[in-house]
Symmetry: D3
Subunit: 66 residues, 6 copies
């Protein structure tokens, strides 16, 4: 029954990459804690770079500057 | 002051259905814990089926297979 | 597969009250959206009143003042 | 390493306003707890007014009525 | 900069198991999306079985019945 | 009606520091977006250092090593 929430910046992750995140996170819970994969839920949230801040500025600004 | 976050797959929930979720969740907190509805907040998040995984695969893949 | 997260202040909610929250939130998703209750997850988080703020002050302070 | 999640209704917050939220929340953690700004993450989530409820009704409905 | 939140029932996960969850989730983001591990944050939340519901009842009740 | 969730490692933040976080986060939403402080909610979550990972290891391990 674990619940995994993965937040990443929205930068074109493909459907295949998301499948790998879902499969990998589920397997991790099985391997480490013996959780049942059938009831393990993974939710991926993609966040606009304007809305994600680190070091006191948005990722958009940070990228533009570098 | 309770805060309720409802995550569902994005599959066309209507405005009316969302109103019912908001009203029902608020009433539940009133009925069970005597909370003040005026300050009870409900946030509904709709997640693409590509981004929601269960059983190690996305809901998109699961639906396509069945 | 919905996921419901209920955050409340930690003020002695009983096991019976938590069961009612779990049952009620699950039934709400069944009634409004036809979701499968078997895979509906409800997580209740109880937060110390020192750590919950509203109106710019903690619930602890607000209660002491009134 | 703090993580700050700000949920607001989606009502046209500008890129500049989001920058101010990110900068301000990061600075708050520096000022109050001496946290390192470099590893402080701020994520802003904008939620449709249909999906945000308070007082048992959506913000959309509440606004239309007033 | 990804942020991963893993919610599990509180049932004695050891410090070593938590290290494996942290390492595994971080590596997953590196492998699938090429994210920088240095700024990848993983937060594990352990939830009492009274506070975790599935199928309309708490995990505590479900376990006692079986 | 904004909702702010601040996650920090559990390392002895005092009641006064938490009040400052609540006051500061609320004021930030007032100043930047003109939000109503009365309905702005701030929830602080303190997470054990064993349960907080960055750079692929727990904060506990990272601190012990340095």
């Amino acid at each position: 029954m674990p619940f995994v929430n993965i937040k990443i910046t929205r930068e074109g992750a493909t459907k295949e990459q998301k499948e790998k995140l879902i499969r990998g996170a589920t397997q991790l819970l099985v391997d480490v804690l013996g959780k049942n994969p059938v009831t393990t839920v993974v939710v991926i949230e993609e966040v606009d770079t304007d809305n994600w801040g680190v070091g006191g500025e948005s990722v958009t600004t940070r990228r533009n500057r570098s």
